[in-house]
């Protein structure tokens, strides 16, 4: 199949005159196995799509191995078997993702409308839009990023450039690892408790949500930035030092630009990770029906919580509420996908060849 395998095979005297399966063999085996499995299942009366896929996968793996073993020998047969197994594993991993996407698009599209994107439920009975939630999501995420990105990148700079092998560095790394494992609701309760100390109990602010999400986002930014800064080759730093450049300027002008694409990608992934958080925002930003763009005052809605509350407490027209919940989920996924595409574009534009 692969060129290296063929080359190796040519070197082996034993397989020099060996046979070879026709090019269509893998496809033929898959098609044949499916037909066989369908017939088998129909005969036993236990037909279902899931079972068909499982049985045909097993059958095609066995068939290709046996056939190839007879014609091509043990090594090529194993190669084909493993190829089949890996494709099957890949398909298995992809299935939930595609199924989820399909389901969200199917159920979300009916609820998606101009009104959904621009209106609010304020003063509307059993309808309205999610503009307040979209605005809230954007504001909360932006504030979170504004808090987390500088802290995260500066911490990563400390870890890679200044920490050396010191105790502080090891302690930091340990706690960052611990922080990545914090359940999101704990982060929410932390922010809630923190603000309750100063502003009294029952307070709800967009900023509180941003603080809660920062607790989740900072460790991710630190981790990804640290890895990216680590791969900036040392000889670039030395070249800069040798020109009589102070360390901080070397970091600002040489290390960070070299790592720029990777840093942006890391930040985007961290944002994608926190943009859909529900639990911490439920306790910190609350539920509200009108647009609020000020994170320092009043409750703020966001898409995840909106989807949750529409589903949890539907209005008089239940189906309309469910539709809006799905549409909110779809909008959220769309935002994450847009962020990912932007991250990729930035990465392509700015990536530097590092040798």
């Amino acid at each position: 199949m692969q060129a290296p395998a063929e080359k190796a095979a040519r070197l082996e005297p034993a397989t020099l005159g060996g046979g070879m399966l026709p090019d269509w063999a893998p496809y033929g085996v898959i098609a044949g196995s499916m037909l066989f499995a369908a017939a088998l299942l129909a005969a036993t009366g236990a037909f279902s799509v899931a079972l068909l896929l499982v049985v045909s996968t097993v059958v095609s793996c066995l068939t290709i191995y046996a056939w190839s073993r007879a014609v091509e020998g043990r090594r090529r047969a194993l190669d084909r078997l493993v190829t089949f197994a890996i494709i099957a594993a890949f398909a298995l991993a992809l299935t939930p993702l595609l199924s989820l996407l399909f389901e969200v698009v199917k159920r979300g599209l009916p609820g998606l409308s101009w009104e959904f994107l621009t209106g609010t439920p304020r003063g509307v009975v059993g309808g309205g839009g999610a503009a307040h939630a979209i605005v809230g999501t954007v504001v909360i995420t932006a504030v979170t990023a504004a808090i987390s990105v500088p802290i995260g990148i500066m911490a990563a700079i400390y870890l890679t450039e200044y920490g050396g092998k010191g105790r502080l560095r090891r302690a930091l790394t340990f706690f960052v690892d611990v922080m990545t494992g914090i359940p999101s609701i704990v982060a929410g309760l932390f922010a809630f408790a923190l603000f309750a100390i100063f502003l009294g109990p029952g307070i709800r602010l967009g900023l509180m949500g941003a603080v809660a999400l920062s607790v989740l986002m900072i460790p991710i930014v630190i981790r990804s930035s640290e890895e990216v800064l680590k791969i900036v080759p040392n000889h670039l730093r030395e070249a800069s030092y040798a020109l009589g450049t102070p360390k901080w300027r070397t970091i600002v002008k040489v290390v960070l630009p070299t790592a720029f694409a990777g840093l942006v990608t890391g930040v985007m992934i961290a944002i994608a990770r926190i943009v859909g958080e529900t639990a911490p925002l439920l306790v910190t930003t609350g539920i509200v029906d009108s647009i609020n763009t000020n994170p320092f005052e009043g409750r703020m809605q966001n898409l995840a919580v909106y989807a949750y509350s529409e589903y949890r407490t539907p209005g008089v027209m239940k189906q309309a509420s469910y539709d809006r919940a799905w549409a909110a989920a779809l909008t959220l996924i769309a935002i994450v996908m847009i962020l990912n595409v932007v991250a990729r574009l930035i990465y392509r534009r700015y990536k530097t060849e590092i040798r």
Binding site: P233, E238, A239, S240, Y241, A242, L243, R249, E353
Partner: protein, 297 residues
């Protein structure tokens, strides 16, 4: 100008070394003609010991490096040539756990004295590395101007243009890149990249130029170009070059220092230093003779 470096086992009397001769202007680089270049300096090393943590890498080196000459450091791998070279502009201490004992003076000023800023030392003592390492995010122009930009000095555009052109001409690269100065430095070939790095190092007008096997990643043609360049650069700088290539030491250097280590794990030491011709034809030490004649190991 024979100075201290002429004698074998040169004693460090750099402090009384006479002022370097005025620079000759290389004819092939007219752009440099009316520019006041930096004054090359004498480096005197006295009882220098270098460590990596507990490992004693270089033991008790005492030598004087004469201005406006090319001093080659030769010796087998792991004998501490590069470590020694990096101690001359305080790059050695960038390695975690690295220590320095002894004295290195630059025209009488101890660069390891308390209160001396390593950043200032490195502005006077530039370095070219083993493999070409232009900054990947910068254009050819910005790579050469990097020293000016990175030092934070506010330089006018016209002045910067002049420095870039002069440095690139000095590195024999101007004609090859003058039409694509805005292209990334990594778009050049290996030999061109190394000349770019030399231009970058000379653009900040240092007084000493350290070169750590500058040709080891290059083909013979590119190597020859760099060697020619070194011959010209010595008119403006004190040059110290580490090389594994004995022909290169013989061709390009005026003074050669031979480093050796008795066995692995022991520190490297300076065996002999003298005029290149003397070292290659009639060295005083047996080990040197064995090494330069290829009878070694």
């Amino acid at each position: 100008m024979q100075g201290a470096a002429g004698a074998t086992r040169a004693e460090a009397d750099a402090t009384e070394a006479q002022a370097p001769t005025p620079r000759a202007t290389p004819e092939s680089a007219p752009a440099m003609a009316n520019v006041e270049g930096p004054r090359a300096k004498t480096i005197a090393v006295r009882n220098l010991n270098l460590f990596y943590g507990d490992f004693h890498a270089v033991e008790n080196v005492t030598m004087t490096i004469a201005p406006n000459k090319v001093t080659a450091l030769i010796g087998s791998s792991g004998c501490g040539k590069t470590t020694f070279l990096r101690s001359l502009n305080r790059m050695h201490e960038l390695t975690a756990g690295a220590r320095v004992e002894g004295e290195v003076t630059l025209d009488g000023q101890d660069i390891y004295a308390r209160g001396v800023d390593p950043v200032q030392v490195r502005r006077l003592v530039g370095m070219v590395f083993q493999s070409p390492n232009p900054f990947p995010t910068m254009s050819i122009y910005d790579n050469v101007a990097a020293g000016l930009n990175l030092n934070g000095s506010r330089v006018k555009k016209a002045e910067k243009d002049e420095v870039v052109e002069r440095s690139l001409r000095g590195a024999h690269l101007w004609n090859e890149v003058k039409d694509r100065l805005e292209k990334p430095g990594s778009s050049l070939s290996g030999g061109q990249q190394q000349r770019l790095c030399i231009a970058r190092a000379t653009a900040v007008e240092p007084e000493v130029l350290l070169m750590d096997e500058p040709c080891s990643a290059l083909d013979p043609v590119a190597t020859l170009a760099i060697e020619d360049l070194i011959g010209e650069l010595k008119n403006r700088f004190t040059i110290v070059i580490v090389t594994h290539n004995m022909q290169q030491a013989a061709r390009a250097s005026d003074v050669t220092a031979f480093f050796n280590l008795e066995e692995t794990g022991k520190p490297g030491r300076l065996v002999e230093v003298g005029e290149t011709e003397t070292i290659f034809t009639s060295p005083t030490e047996k080990a040197t003779e064995d090494y330069v004649s290829g009878r070694f190991g």
